[in-house]
């Protein structure tokens, strides 16, 4: 069982967010382009804003109900929107075979739009086509000689979103979303 062939991917592009609202709006701006069986792989550290982004996607799709982190449940299903919205979080999984356990591969081909937090945990288990969104926290150099430990909540990092389309659908999504955000990919 080897998966050595890497599907074609388009050049990546990036954008930034300075607040939770920004992050959510970014998710909402992707939603109009999502089609059944599209998969968005969300990568990024704890606290990077993955759930916040997913919340925006749900809003953009018109899903009902509040979107909270699916870490414990692994999959939360949100109906009522233009498409069913499957919100995965693979954080709690340690082994690739557990993906079968939760019927991950069956679910992402079930006609819904899926956003997969920690979807990069299992590189061999990536679908043939997907949109890769990688969120990195960039801390501004404001921590100059901070000695008071009491200010742990003062640092507000910028979130950098790096986007790359993989496979036919992924590339298409990447292009459409970039265009909608006014980002020129012909550089």
């Amino acid at each position: 069982m080897t998966r050595s062939t890497q599907p074609a991917s388009s050049p990546s592009w990036s954008t930034e967010s300075d607040s939770r609202e920004d992050t959510e709006d970014l998710g909402a701006s992707l939603a109009p382009f999502l089609a059944p069986d599209d998969v968005v792989i969300l990568a990024g550290d704890l606290g990077a804003g993955k759930t916040q982004f997913a919340k925006g996607v749900a809003r953009g799709l018109g899903s009902k109900g509040s979107v909270t982190s699916p870490t414990f449940n692994i999959l939360l299903i949100h109906e009522g929107g233009r498409l069913p919205f499957y919100h995965f979080d693979l954080y709690r999984l340690d082994e690739e075979w557990q993906l079968d356990d939760i019927d991950y591969f069956g679910m992402i081909e079930d006609g819904a739009a899926s956003v997969v937090e920690w979807g990069d945990r299992f590189p061999d288990a990536l679908p043939p086509s997907y949109l890769d969104v990688r969120i990195t926290l960039r801390y501004r150099a404001s921590a100059k000689g901070r000695s008071d430990q009491g200010a742990a909540d003062q640092v507000v990092p910028t979130r950098v979103f790096e986007v790359r389309g993989v496979g036919v659908r992924g590339e298409r999504l990447s292009g459409q979303w970039a265009t909608a955000l006014g980002i020129d990919l012909q550089v």
Binding site: S66, T68, S69, I77, E95, E96, I102, A152
Partner: protein, 814 residues
Amino acid sequence: MTEAFAGIVLAFDTATAQLALACGRIPDSREPLEMLASSDEPAYRRANSVLLDRSTELLASLGLAPADVACVVCGRGPGSFTGVRIGVATAKGVACGLRVPLFGVSTLDAVAWNLWEKGVRGLVGVVGDAMRGEVYPVRYRIAATGPQRIDADEVSKPTEVAAHWDMGLDESPLLCGDALGKHRDALVGGFAKLGIHATVADEPLWLPTGRGLLLAFEARRRAGLLGVGAPGSLLPVYTRLSDAEEHERERLGLDASGTLPTNGVADSRALEGVLLRPLSVNDIPDLLELEGRSADEVSTSERLTAEHLEAALGSKGHTWWVARLQGVLVGYAGLAVTHGTAQLTRVVTDPDHRDLGIAERLFSRVVHDALDLGATSVSAVTLGKDCGVDAFLGKMGMDRSSDTAEGSRLWGGALPLERMASTSEGAMVATPVVAGMGLGNHLLPDAGSAVRRPLILAIESSCDETAAAVIDGSDTLYADIIASQVDFHARFGGVVPEIASRKHTEAIVGVVEEAFARAGEELARVEGAGLAPSSGRVPGDPRPLAWSDLDAIAVTVGPGLVGALVVGLAFAKGASWATGLPLIAVNHLEGHLYANRLIDPDIKPPLVALLVSGGNTMLVHVRDWGDYRILGETLDDAVGEAFDKVSKALGLGYPGGPILSRLAKEGDSTAIDFPRAMLHSHDLRFSLSGLKTAVITYIHAENAEGRAIDLPNLAASFQQAVIDVLVAKATDAVRQTGVREFCMGGGVSANPELRHEIALAMRRRGVRVTLPLASSCTDNAGMIGAVARERFGAGRFEALTIEALPGMDIEEPY
């Protein structure tokens, strides 16, 4: 013994988009099966809702009813994971409910047998859809006598199937199977590349049929390959097993997936777990046989005899348990309680099954019983040279008190043992099936009390835990069993994944049987336990509970993980169909609310409840039982999740709650000033991702500055930040609603500091507080039973078409 049955056979398969269903009859165990009727229909992802009604219709068309079924046959896949799981769990429920054998058949074999019946002969490739761009390819050579399987089940890329099969150029296979829908070109193209012309069968032949399923079953029956048909041992076909599991199978001498017999899927792949039971008279010969083979165990000087054991069975103060693995007695343990001390008589395991943790489980079981028998301490004597037994007792939390001149060692310990106590925090669970876990003794029936109807079996499988409970009309729990999945993992050489929802499929039968056995024992203590006249149960009868003793079956339908929920639900529906007992659906979150009522029957709405667990953080206004309004919930992470993530970020273990709360005891909660998110938001919503981010940021910053992190201080400061917000919002909620009662639920409500502070804050306001037992905060089935009892009274029963509701809302009445 295996094929010596006759009667009506019901067969179904839900592994593909087609619901395949058939009914046959075996007139006599030596005679061939007769096909009676079949029905196949598309049921894409609807199998759970239509399977049982279709079965009823099929049987009815033959003038038959569920009770006429003498044997169940189920497609084991490979196929859609959720689909197979629904089929297998339903089949288990039906077979258990009817107390008939259950046999598994390969879904791909069923396709091949259907082709045979349709007159196809020669080389055939059945290629099932494995999702993620992969397929399950298996070759068959179909002769006049039937298909002969050439390959074992495996996973492959569609383009690689042809090369993999490595056929001569004269071989031109006929392809079928549901993978053709997605991968026809890739499959056919793969053959063309090798100069082979592969033909594609007509589409109606791609899927398994009921008749094909029965034919495949019949072939295995005629070949004597059925096995015993124990419902608990049937498992779906897993083709992507972890290495750890493969190793375990090899170690146990079971078939590795690559060396399966060519005539089908080996049933021995269905690894049956070790089942613990109280000793019965029938176990005595096997026990004495093992006793004869083992000399080096915990023992008194004299050998056990049949008379000794029979006397122990009949007298109070003795408890004996046996462990059986696939029917074979592999261990036993016993103790006697006198004057408050439990004297351990034996803990013996078969030398061939030493590392399965059987001894620990047996030990826990008899010691649990000792507590029930009023023991406050346990003691043991070990003889001869130290051969591991002493180490075992030490590991189980006993202390070596003294050595005698004769060279024997005395061991003792106060009950409950430290090690047992730690199980409530989930850190060290010694038993996979923890009988009575989460039960205070006061919840057990008092001797002399009577069973009050209705008697309900409740099943819970919404996330990580498979659980079953038996409860009566006065909220008395006769059994409350949780199959802690930790033990399954411990078996697999130290790989301890945090979740494994498919373990539900493995555990469900054992957990329900355990609940029945336990409830039977408890009922025996209750005077006037003459339940349904049909059961013939009389006071003092220690037999396991029977379905006929029950009034209803209850099950969690949501919210939760869909792949986990469907197992409990499908099993419960199957059992309901088989037994005719009504089915009751329960909301998992409502269960957490009712857990409080099990502690304090006087708790009365209106009240406010704080539900805090790994998946939920919400304040609920309970205006009345069944009438709930969410006052506020988390906007992002749940509290338990925040604990887990901080614990993981610090490189500490899982679950994070107990770990951090233990650390916090040593720390200064004012050391680091973490944000109290939304403390002043003037609403009752929570946000924990900000706090989580602040902690992670803090860790990064400290690391960057090269400072060591004071773990106890960090844990205490983090925990305090969480508690401050929870307490503040909870008291706001109580003030806003004006209620005089408050309660909690969910795993995090076991946190001692949170319990302490919230109780203090509420009492200061004159609000009555009820807290669930720390050990029953986590998911359990007793709480599901408590809700079900009320729904039973209101006549809220479900049709067998009900499906799992992973996103079930607590505010919506159901």
